[in-house]
Structures are given as C-alpha cells and as structure tokens.
C-alpha cells in the first residue's frame, strides 16, 4: 500500500483538532501583545515594563483567551460536521447518477430488498399487538392474573370463588387491589331483533385494578360493583359505534339484556380489550349468583400488585394461603396444590403456549427470505463491482482516498436499501390491514395489526442493516484490490476469479436457504392435508349448526325450556331442506369441553381424580343421526330419556375401556367431575363410534353423552342435516327460527367451518411459509439465472472460439446447464443437511406442539418433490442463457470486446 500515506496526511490537515484551536488563539494573542509592547518600547517604555503595559491596555487577557478558544472550537466542530454532510450528499448525488446509468440493476435490487423488508415488517407488525405493544392498562407490569394449579388436570388456570378472592386480597401483602371476572354471552334485545354479544361479569374494583378510564361517562362505583344498586352496564366503543351509532347521549340510556333493562353508565375505548377483544359489555356479577358461596369457583382473579412486589413474592404468599385452606375445604381450596401468577399478556392469550413458537418460526423464515434477498443483491453488486473496477481504480489513482470509495459504495447500498425499505413499508402497510381478518379476535392482543412507531423503528433497523450485508462485500473487495493490477488489466469488465468464486458461494448459500424454506412449506402443507384427512367419526360436511339462547326471563324453568326447544325443533324439522335435526349442549371441536371422570362399578374405587378422563355433553337421540355418528350397539336416546332417567350413550373408546371384550349395553357406568366425592350412576343404553371432540390430532378421547331433555342449560345448539343446497337451507332455517323465536338471536354456522377452525394453525403456517417459500424459491432461481447468464456473457469469446473450431452447440449448452446444476446441487446438498439436521434437532418440539402432523421432518415424499422442483428450475434458469450463447454467431462473439 504505497499510496496510503498521502491521503491520510491530507485528511488530518482538513480536520484539525480542538487542541489546535487553543494553540492558535494563544499564538494570535501572543503576537498581538508583543507587537503592542514593541511599539511601547519605541515610545520610550522600559522593555521590562512594556509587556505588562500591553497586557493592561489589552483588557482581560484570560477571559478573552477562553472566550476565543470556545468560539473557535464551536466553529471547528460545526465545520467538521458540515464537511461530513457535504461529503455524504456528494456521495449520494454520485450514487444517484451511477444508478441512473444502471436502471435494471437498480430496479432488481430495490424490488428484491422491498420484498425482503416487507416480509419482515409484516411479520413483525403481526407479532407486535400480541407480544410487544404495551397493554392498554396503567402500569401493566404490576398487573397479574392468578390461577389455581390443579395437579390432576395439570392445568394452572384454575378459577376461584368470590370469598376466596376476597381472602387473597386481604391475605397477600403484595396485592394492592384484586377483582374477579368471568365471561360469557348475553342477548342484547332491541326492537328490531336481538343479538348475542360477548360479555364479561366481574366482582370487586376491576376497573381500578386495571387502571382504565372510559371515553364517555364513568365506570362502576363501589355500590354498582356489588350488584346491589340499580342495574347498570358499561359498554365497549365498538358496540357503541356499531349498535348505537355512536350516540353521544348513550350514557343514561337503557338497554335490555336477556329481557331485563339496565342503564348504560359509560363507554370504554376500543383498545380496552379485557379479557379479550370482542367483549362488548361489562356487568357487575349479579348478587344472587353465589357471591357468598365458596364453592362457586368460576372467577379468574386479576390483581394489581403493590409497587416493588414481584410475581414470585405473590405466588409464595398465595401458595401459603392455599396450603392453609386445603385441609379446611378439601373439595374446594384443596383442589389446587399451588397457584400460578402470570402477567396479563400471557394469561389472557389462549394460544400463549403456541404463539411464541409460531411467531419464531415465522420470524425465522422471513429472516431467511431477507438473507436470501441480500445474498442475491450482494451477488449482483459483486458482478457490478467487477465491471466498475476500472472506474474505481482510476478514481483511486487520481487520489480519491479509499475510505471515500468504500463510503461511496456503501452510500449506494444505503440509497438502494432506503428506497427498497420505503417500498417495502408501503407494501406492508397494505398487507398488515389484510391480516387482521386472519387471526380470531379472541386471541388477546393490544390494538390492531398495523404499522405503528415500533414497527417502523424495526423496519428502519432492518433497512439500515441490509446494506451492511450486501454492500460491504464488494466494498471490502474494492478496498483491498491492488490498484496497479486493475489498471494494467485493461479493466474491460473481466471478473476476477475470486469474485466469481464469491458469487458462486452466494448462489449456493441462496439455494440452500431457499431449500430449507420450501421444504418447510412442503412439510406444513403435508401436515395440513393429513389433518384435513383425519376421520372425525362424524360427517361434518352437510351439517348446519345454530346456537340459540332464550332470555332468562322467558324460560325460567326446565319445562318452559323444553317447550321452547320442542317448538324450535318442530319448526326446523318441518322444513323440506332439513333431513334431520338434533339438539346438544355442546358441539364437537367448538372449543368447549366439559371434562368428566369415569369407571365401572368394579374399577370405580378411590378418589375420582384418579379415574380415567373423558368429555361429556348433553344431546338428544336425533343429534347422532343428524351428525352422522353411527350407532354400534344398543339404542340411541328416545323420548323416555331425560335428565332423571340416568341413561347414557358412550363412545367405543369408553366402552372398551370399561368392559374390554364384552358388550357394554345395559351395564352401569360411574362418572363425575374430578373434584366430586360421590360419582353419578349411569346406565349405558347404547354405544356409538368414536369422535374427535377437543382437537383434531391425537387419539380420540372417550366421550359420555347424557340426555338433554329436562336439563337447565339455556343455550343449546341445533345440529341440522341439510338436504340439497346449504345456502338455501341456511336461509330457510333463519326464516323459520325468526318466525318461531323472534326475540332470540341465532348464530348459524356450517359444522365444516367449525371443524376448519381447528386447522387454523396448519392453514396459517402453510400460507405464510408458502408465501415466503415461493419468494425464496423465486429469488434462488433468479440468483442462478443471473450468475449463469453473467458467466456465459464473460465466456462469450471463449465459446465463440470453440464454436468456430467446430464444437457442437448442443454440447456447449449441456456444459453450461451442467454448471448451473452443479451449483444448485451443492446448494441443495447443503440445504438438505440443514433441513435434516435442524429438523431432527427440533422434531420433538414440532411434533409435540402439533405443528407437524402425520409427517416426519425427513418425509421422503416432501423432500423428493422439493429437490425435483429445485433441479428443474435450476436447469431452466441455466438453459435460457446457455441457449442464447449456443445460438450466437461465433464471428460476432469473437469480434465483441
């Protein structure tokens, strides 16, 4: 580096230091004082006195010195900044000019980066409301939800009763304030029809605990919260805007809920999504609902901790409380062996266990896409740097410092990434809005999926980091390239062997990375197909469901309820579009399960929580036929079976478990909830096929059906087997229902839709991975194409010569395609090792979390298809430039250059 010295000295002279400033001021003042002193001596002053006199006449020398130094240093700092800025804007203008001369390069780079940055921005903005955006409550770090840990269910979200929650508040010193809540649905009755809305009931100072204020009116007073005063309600902004047209005088208005009037006292802002989005109304828990009953353990306690207290402190205090009370109330407090104290974000999100995993997978795949995009751009930039070597070498030779040259290449990178980032953010802005519909609103989130400041900061960081990936490699090469050689080369754009090797390595890496993503997509799609192929045990396809819940006022006893439902069933059954109609308390795969323990008389010893587990629901006999759940032996429920009859129908899994190898019909089953002390006796009247009830994957759990006739559950489902067109049937059912029960809102859903909700994890993952896989695949193909056409262009002279010497065009084409396939092959081998290695390392997690279903990470079918796909596209991508080269006129090729 013979020429390194000169630029460095030039650089130092420009940017002189702050110490130089004080030296210069000192010198300037010294010269001035000496000058004055000389004049004084000439006027006749004694030389010894002259300098003192000069200083005296000058004024305050010290103050002036420090003032001047300060001014001069400020000026220098500003000057240095200005110089940097000027240099940078000059680089920017230069970058603009050079890029204008290479519009194709600029377009491809910007488009590639935009896709990479958009993918990352979209995924981050998707994660933001679930994981990062602050909760809309005051000091959210102090808020916790308390759950009981039930060792038999291995479930840590156990609920508590009002007396228990009040005791916790009085007992735990870490608790500042505590309240309890539960949620469900109510009918909102209006003159133009009723509808079912989601509601949350609470006990205690819930709104003070959360620290949230309404946008209109007030929240509950202590008296309201006890449910003792006049009936009141607070509604959500969403409900206020959609159902009450944003009526500004809503406060004080009356609404009718389940047939009884209440006064609206306030409206909560849209971002108050407690306990999750979609809750439209908050109500004090009714006083008669068991506020003094310790056994009514139906509330989730939510507490504000005292400042400084930790969750661990609180948990220890509560564990001590549980331990103390367990022996006193073994059936109640004794149900729990400990407590869990969770932050609200975690506690309120039903999908918390899979969400971070799903998001990390997403983020990992988009990071891959970004890296592939950067690799592609780096490869292109390297190629360009190769052709620009002469220009750069000339500029270096006429004295441009290397630092500036590298800075220029980086500036070009930042410019491209900046434009790419801006385009990417614009794409994400559109995409993010579309995503809000994909994820169900019941997953607790803060605000909508949208681009907020946090997302933009993230995107800006990605955009700024990107050029570091793709522009530094060429910049580094330029900084190292020996000048003389480049100039001597003639610099006709000949690419050095190392550059070409670097590009090959990048393409190999790109193919490998893309393979990982595409293979992941393949596995996800295979899982999705496997999941949709699962035999549910029933035939969901032609079943329409409807949920109805008559107002409490209208059906106060079992007889009135049965009469209501008989009327409804009769009306629907009369429709020609309906083949069969049954009723049920719960539907399979509808995210509601009632667990139960069961045993035969012989095996039913000891506490129930040691017995095997099953789910239970109440149905009528027609439910089985309308769902298409076949009877295996015995009979279905008939008119004689009601709550009091004790008849039950069990699934095959339960029958086999109870009475292996013998007929279960006519025998007795003991069952009850895990916490009950005395089991209920049931007589098995029939055995039906197994069905998927709580989830699609995994083994079918045993199920116990009980008669619905005479039960007190107001909300029931109709399961209707449709004849002919489903949409027409849906309309007919809606008409029939509004004729027979005009005040009762009905929500109609095809059973198939409910089933498909259970495939959401796989469907969404397939969709996302699919999009990213496709992008990565396309980028890799582009990478191969770019490299091969570049190397063919480089070799056009050689090829022309070989053609002129009589080489076979087909053989030439084959050799070029072989080069492309070799690169792809190496990339695929590397990618395969990563897929199999990483796959095996994470297989346990992937399978346990149900992310992969019915397929292993090394699924040969998927891998074969994916490899075949890649080799085909690699051959295609190299064939195009190869054809072009082989078809070229040898004379032209030789003359070129």
């Amino acid at each position: 580096m013979a020429d390194a010295g000169e630029p460095r000295r030039a650089f130092r002279r420009d940017g002189d230091t702050l110490a130089d400033a004080s030296r210069e001021v000192d010198e300037e003042l010294r010269i001035h004082l000496e000058w004055v002193a000389e004049e004084l001596i000439a006027e006749g002053w004694a030389p010894a006195e002259a300098l003192n006199e000069a200083r005296r006449r000058f004024g305050d020398v010290e103050a002036t010195r420090s003032y001047c130094i300060a001014q001069s240093q400020r000026a220098r700092r500003w000057g240095r900044w200005r110089m940097g800025w000027d240099g940078w804007t000059q680089d920017l203008r230069y970058a603009f000019r050079t890029l204008r001369k290479a519009p194709v390069y600029a377009f491809v780079v910007v488009a590639t980066l935009a896709i990479g940055i958009a993918a990352n921005t979209v995924v981050f903005s998707l994660m933001n409301p679930y994981l990062f955006r602050p909760l809309p409550f005051a000091e959210p770090d102090r808020l916790v939800q308390i759950g009981g840990y039930d060792p038999t269910e291995q479930w840590d979200g156990g609920r508590f009763s009002v007396p228990q929650i009040e005791e916790m508040g009085a007992r735990a010193r870490s608790i500042d304030a505590i309240a309890g809540y539960y949620y469900g649905t109510v009918n909102l009755n209006r003159s133009d029809g009723s509808e079912r809305i989601e509601a949350s009931w609470f006990r205690g100072p819930l709104f003070d605990v959360l620290g949230s204020t309404p946008i209109l009116g007030r929240t509950f007073s202590a008296e309201d919260a006890l449910g003792e005063g006049a009936p009141v309600a607070v509604i959500g902004e969403q409900l206020w805007r959609t159902r009450f047209a944003g009526d500004p005088s809503i406060v004080g208005r009356e609404v009718v809920l389940d047939g009884s009037p209440r006064t609206v006292i306030g409206v909560m802002p849209a971002d108050f999504t407690f306990p999750f989005g979609g809750i439209g109304i908050w109500l004090p828990m009714p006083a008669e609902a068991g506020v003094a009953d310790r056994a009514w353990m139906s509330l989730h306690p939510v507490a504000r901790m005292t400042s400084g207290a930790t969750r661990e402190d609180l948990r220890l205090e509560l564990d001590a409380w549980v331990e103390e009370n367990a022996p006193i109330w073994p059936d109640l407090d004794g149900r729990y062996s400990a407590t869990s104290v969770k932050g609200l974000r975690e506690a309120l999100n039903f999908a918390w266990s899979i969400l971070p995993i799903a998001f990390s997978l997403l983020l990992a795949s988009v990071a891959f896409v970004l890296v592939i995009a950067c690799v592609n751009v780096a490869s292109l930039t390297l190629a360009r740097a190769g052709t620009r070597r002469r220009e750069i070498a000339v500029r270096a030779a006429i004295g441009a410092p290397r630092r500036r040259l590298v800075g220029q290449l980086l500036t070009e990178g930042f410019l491209l990434a900046g434009v790419g980032g801006a385009v990417g953010v614009a794409i994400s802005w559109v995409a993010a809005r579309g995503l809000n519909g994909v994820i169900p609103p019941e997953l607790f989130k803060v605000g909508e999926v949208s681009l907020d400041g946090r997302v933009l900061v993230f995107s800006a960081a990605v955009t700024l980091l990107t050029p570091v990936f793709f522009a530094l490699i060429p910049a580094w090469k330029v900084a190292r390239a020996p000048l003389s050689r480049t100039l001597k080369d003639g610099g006709g754009g000949g690419e050095s062997a190392t550059t070409l090797r670097a590009r090959r390595i990048l393409v190999v890496a790109e193919v490998g990375l893309a393979l990982v993503l595409v293979a992941g997509t393949g596995l996800m799609i295979r899982s999705l197909t496997e999941v949709t192929r699962i035999d549910l045990g029933f035939d969901a396809e032609r079943v329409l469901t409807a949920a109805l819940s008559p107002d409490a006022e209208a059906v106060s006893n079992a007889e009135a309820l049965d009469a209501f439902w008989d009327e409804v069933v009769l009306a629907v059954d009369a429709l020609p579009e309906i083949e069969a109609v049954g009723t049920a308390s719960h539907l399979p795969l509808n995210h509601e399960t009632i667990p139960v323990r069961f045993a035969s008389i012989d095996t039913g010893v000891g506490a129930l929580d040691g017995w095997p587990g099953a789910y239970t629901s109440r149905v009528d006999g027609e439910f089985f036929s309308s769902m298409g759940l076949p009877l295996r032996s015995g009979r279905l429920f008939d008119a004689s079976d009601d709550v009091a009859s004790g008849s039950v129908v069990v699934t095959r899994a339960m029958a086999d478990r109870l009475f292996p190898g013998s007929d279960a019909v006519g025998r007795t089953v003991l069952y009850g909830s895990a916490s009950s002390t005395e089991p209920i006796r049931g007589t098995i009247v029939g055995v039906v096929d197994d069905l998927r009830y709580d989830r699609l994957d995994g083994a079918a759990r045993p199920h116990l059906f009980r008669p619905i006739e005479g039960s007190l559950s107001r909300r029931r489902f109709l399961a209707m087997r449709v004849r002919g067109d489903a949409a027409a049937a849906s309309l007919a059912v809606r008409d029939a229902l509004s004729a027979v029960a005009p005040d009762v809102p009905a929500s109609l859903r095809p059973m198939g839709e409910i089933v498909r909700e259970n495939t959401l994890l796989w469907a969404v993952s397939s969709l996302f991975l699919g999009v990213f896989g496709l992008v990565a695949f396309g980028l890799a193909a582009l990478g191969i194409y770019g490299l091969i056409s570049y190397s063919v262009a480089q070799r056009s002279r050689e090829m022309g010569l070989r053609m002129a010497l009589g080489a076979d065009a087909a053989a030439l084409t084959r050799s070029v395609v072989a080069e492309g396939l070799r690169l792809a092959g190496i990339g695929l081998a590397v990618g395969l090792v990563v897929v199999v290695g990483a796959g095996l390392a994470f297989e346990r997690i992937l399978v346990d979390q149900g992310i992969l279903y019915g397929v292993g990470v090394t699924d040969p079918v998927t891998l074969t298809v994916v490899l075949g796909l890649f080799l085909t596209i690699a051959a295609g991508a190299s064939l195009m430039p190869a054809r072009r080269a082989a078809g070229a006129d040898p004379v032209e090729a030789l003359r070129g250059e």
Binding site: E24, V25, E28, L29, I31, H32, W35, V36, R57, F58, G59, D60, V61, A63, T64, Y67, C68, Q71, S72, R74, A75, W78
Partner: protein
C-alpha cells in the same frame, strides 16, 4: 458578551466598526485596532479584548474567515477577511445604525 465592549465605543457598534474596516480588505487584529483609532481621530477606542472576542465570534458565525499570513513588516499574523455573509451583515448593520442615529437626532431636535 457585551460586557467587554465599552469605554470608547457605543454599545452594539463594535461588530459594525470591525466589519466596516475589513470591507477594505483583509487585516490582522492589530491593524484593525490601529485603523479604527486613526480613522476616528482617537474618538473610537475599541479595547483589544473586545476586538478579539468579536472577531472570533464573527468567525464562528461565518461573517469573517481567518488565515495565517505575513504582514507588510514581515511579521507572522492571523488575517481576517469578510465573507459574503459578512458583507450582507455589514450592509444590514450600517442601515440599522443609520436609522437609529437619525431617530436619535430627531429626538434631540425636540418637537417641531
């Protein structure tokens, strides 16, 4: 930093006087000091401390630039010269001062 300016000049006029004397060409601090005294026949006497403070302040503001050079007498010195921004400033200050002085005179003449 007006506290250092005083004695021989009206407050606020130091910048104007220095810029004016630089408008005839580059000069060092000692030269400016002498020129002001000579030109005003001893009436204007700007203290050297105030002069140098004003020069550095105006250099920071970009009204003047400085450069080391050699004086007529062969002495090394720092020479100050007006920048275009300094010329604009000088015109502005002159105008302001003229208007001020005219106002003062009008007051001194008393009511018409």
């Amino acid at each position: 930093m007006g506290r250092r300016i005083g004695g021989g000049v009206l407050p606020g006029t130091a910048d104007l006087l220095i810029l004016k004397s630089l408008s005839e060409g580059p000069a060092h601090g000692f030269g400016i000091s002498k020129a002001l005294r000579t030109r005003s026949e001893g009436v204007v006497e700007l203290q050297d401390a105030a002069l140098y403070q004003a020069l550095h302040r105006m250099a920071r503001k970009g009204w003047v630039t400085s450069e080391w050079g050699v004086s007529d007498q062969g002495r090394r010195a720092k020479f100050y010269s007006l920048t275009p921004a300094g010329e604009r400033r000088l015109a502005q200050e002159e105008e302001d001062f003229r208007r001020y002085i005219q106002g003062v005179f009008r007051v001194l003449q008393g009511p018409a």
